[in-house]
Amino acid sequence: MITFALSMLLLATGASFVLGRRRVLAMVERPVDLQSLPGYYGWYTALWCLVPGFVVVLGWMGSAPWLLEGATLNASGIDLASRSEAEISLFMNNVKNLASGSIPSLPDDPALLAAAERYIELRGRGAAIASGFVALFAAAGFSYAFRRLRPNLAARNDVERVLRLTLMACSTLAVVITFGIVFSLLAETLQFFNRVSPIEFLFGTHWSPQTALRVDQVGSSGSFGAVPIFTGTLLITAIAMLVAVPIGLLSAIYMGFYASRRVRAVAKPLLEVLAGVPTVVYGFFAALAVGPVLRDVGSAIGLSVASESALAAGLIMGVMIIPFVSSLSDDAIAAVPDAMRNGSLGLGATESETIRSVILPAALPGIVNAFLLAASRAIGETMIVVMAAGLAANLTANPLEAVTTVTVQIVTLLTGDQEFDSAKTLSAFALGLVLFFVTLCLNLIALAVVRRFREEYE
C-alpha cells in the first residue's frame, strides 16, 4: 500500500516537472526572458509536489508501529494494568507474527487471533489514510507552486537551497551513523568493564575467554588479558609492513622513473589488481599454500614452524597491501613538481641521486601517509588472519608460532550461539573499540601529515 503511494508520488513528481516547465515557457516568448533556466521551474514545481508527500510518508513509517500497537492493544480488551511489560511485548510479537503469517501453526488463543485480525485491519486502514494524506499534501504543494510560477520567480535559488539541504542531510546522516556506532561500542565496552577491570584487559597477559556454562566447571571465570592479542596483531602487521613497504615503495619508484611507458601501462594495472583480490582468496592461499610450504622448508632446515604461523599470515597480508603502498607512494612522488627533478638533473645529478636526495625527501610526508594507511588496513584485516594465523593467544615475538589478532578474536567471540550478556561476548566490543581507536589514530596522523604536505607546494 505504502509502496503504491510512493510510486504514485514519484509519477506525480515527474508530471509536475513537465507541467511546471511547460507553463512557465508558455508565459514568455523566448526562454531567455525567464529568470532561471526552464528546467529549474520544472524542478521547483516537482520539489513542491515531492517534498510534502514524502514528509507524510516518512511520518507514517515512523509513527505507524506505535499507533498500530496502541490501537490493537486497546481494542483487544486485555487488561493492560494487570500484565507485565514483558508479557505485553510478547503478546504484541505474537500478534505481529500472526499478521505477517510467519507462525505456521496457529496458537489457540482467541484473544490473540482477534487481536491479529484487528491488527491487519487497522494496518490496512492506516495505510489507506496515510496514502490519502500523501496525495492531499502532494497536490496542495503542487498547486501552490504551480500558481506561483512567474517568469521572474527565482526558481533557481529555491532549487539550489533544497539541493544544499539534501546534501547536508546526507553528510549529517553519515556522521551521525559513525557516532552511533562509536557510542554503541562504548556502551557495550563499559558493560564489559563492569565485569573485568580495564587494567586486567589492557595489561593482562593471559587470554582465555571461554567461560564455563556452570560455575562448577573448570575455568569458569575466563581470563581477559588482551596483551597477547595486541602483540599478535602487531607482529603480523610488522611482518606485513616489512613485505609491503620495500616492495611497494621500490615498485612505485620504478614505475615513476625507470619504466618505459609500455611497461607502466601493463604493470601498473596488474599491480592494482592485487588490491581487488578478495581477502578470503588471499586467506586460503595463505592457509593452504604458504603455511605448509613454510612448515616444510622449516623442518628441512631444522626449524619448527607451526602450520598456522604469524609468518604465513603476515607475508600474504603484506602482498595484499603492496598496491596500497605503491599507488599512494606513486601519487606522492608524482605530486613532486617536475621542476625539482629537472633542477637536480640539470646540476648533473644522476637519476638515482635525484630520487634519493630530492624527490623522496620532498614526497616523504605523502609516503609516510601511504605507510600509515597501509598499516591501518593491515591491523583491521580479518579474513587472512582468521584462516592462516591460528587462534592460539600466544604471547610471543617468534613469527614461526601461531598467534592470534584482535580481529580474529572478535570473529570467534561473536560467531556461533552466544549469550549476549556474558563477559566473553562483551569482550569483543572492548576489542573492537581498541581496534577502532588505533586505526582512527593512524588515520588522523596520516591526515595531519598530508595536510602539511599540501602546504609545501601551494
Binding site: S260, R261, P337, A339, M340, R341, N342, G343, S344, L345, G346, L347, G348, A349, T350, E353, S357, V358, P361, A362, E456
Partner: protein
C-alpha cells in the same frame, strides 16, 4: 637563406676579427630537434661565445627552449625528443661516448624559467651540486663554497643569517638567485638560462639582469628571453628564431639597430610576436 655558410661566418658574426677574437665555447652545427613528428628546431648553427652573453629571442614556440636544452642534453629526459646534428664544448662533441652527461651538466649549468629551489635549506640547496660531484662534502670547505656562490649570485647579504631556512621560503627573485647560486656552486663553464625573469617582478628582474652582467666574462652565458629590452641590455650576441629556424645571428647592437632580415626587423619593432 638564414645564415651565411660557416666559412664566411667569421665575417658576418664578427666584423672586426682583428680586434675581437672569435672564441666559441660551445658550437651547434646543423642541429635538428624532433618531438615525435614535430620538427621543433631546424638545421640551426649557433655558437655560444666565451665570456659573452648570447640572447635567444623569438616568438613563443619557435624552439628557443628546445635548442637551449640541447646544450646540456636536458632533452635526454624527454622520451619523445630526438636530437640530430653536432654540438661541441671546447671543440669536443657533447654526444661523444667519452663525455658523460653528468660531467657535461656539471660544466654546462642551467637555470629554469620558474625558480625551482629544492625544499631544503638555503645552504643545502647550494651545497647540493658540490656534494654530488664530490667537490666538497661538508665543513669549512663547503661553507666557503656556499658563501662564495651566494656572494657571486648577489644573495649573500640577504640570506647570510637564514642559511638554515627553507629555500622555498624566499621571495621569487631570491629563489631565482638561489638557483643561479646553486648552478654557480659546481663552477660551470657555461650557464644556460631559460627566461629566468619571466616569473619575477620588475625589481627582481633588474637584480637578475645586473647579476647576469656581473657574471659575464667569467662564464659563457646563453639566455632565452621574451623581453627585447632585456636582450638589448644584457647580451652581446643575439640570435633571432622563427618557426624553428635561426633567422639571424649577430652582435646585439647590429641586430637591434640594423637587422639584415625583414623578419627580424618586424619582430623587433613589434610587428608580430
Amino acid at each position: 637563406m638564414l645564415l651565411a655558410p660557416s666559412d664566411s661566418e667569421a665575417e658576418v658574426i664578427v666584423p672586426e676579427p682583428s680586434t675581437e677574437e672569435f672564441r666559441p665555447k660551445m658550437n651547434a652545427t646543423a642541429v635538428d630537434v624532433y618531438y615525435g613528428d614535430t620538427h621543433a628546431v631546424k638545421k640551426v648553427d649557433l655558437p655560444i661565445l666565451e665570456g659573452d652573453v648570447t640572447a635567444l629571442i623569438g616568438p613563443s614556440g619557435c624552439g628557443k627552449s628546445t635548442l637551449l636544452r640541447c646544450f646540456n642534453r636536458m632533452n635526454d629526459a624527454i622520451a619523445a625528443c630526438r636530437v640530430e646534428g653536432e654540438i661541441t664544448l671546447e671543440g669536443r662533441s657533447i654526444f661523444d661516448a667519452e663525455i658523460d652527461v653528468v660531467e657535461l651538466r656539471a660544466r654546462v649549468g642551467m637555470v629554469f624559467q620558474k625558480p625551482n629551489p629544492f625544499p631544503k635549506s638555503v645552504y643545502d640547496n647550494v651545497a647540493y651540486g658540490p656534494r654530488i660531484h664530490g667537490i666538497a662534502r661538508k665543513g669549512p670547505e663547503m661553507d666557503a663554497i656556499v658563501a662564495s656562490s651566494l656572494e657571486r649570485a648577489g644573495l649573500w647579504q640577504e640570506v647570510k643569517d637564514r642559511l638554515q631556512e627553507s629555500g622555498t621560503a624566499l621571495s621569487g627573485g631570491q629563489q631565482q638567485r638561489l638557483c643561479i647560486a646553486r648552478a654557480i656552486a659546481v663552477d660551470p663553464e657555461v650557464i644556460l638560462m631559460d627566461e629566468p625573469c619571466s616569473a619575477l617582478d620588475p625589481i627582481a628582474t633588474a637584480k637578475i639582469e645586473e647579476l647576469i652582467c656581473e657574471l659575464r666574462g667569467r662564464f659563457a652565458i646563453a639566455i632565452v628571453t621574451h623581453n627585447m629590452q632585456q636582450a638589448a641590455r644584457v647580451s652581446q650576441r643575439t640570435a633571432f628564431f622563427h618557426l624553428g629556424e635561426l633567422v639571424e645571428y649577430g652582435r646585439t647592437e647590429d641586430i637591434f639597430t640594423n637587422p639584415v632580415q625583414e623578419r627580424t626587423r618586424d619582430y623587433i619593432t613589434g610587428r608580430y610576436g
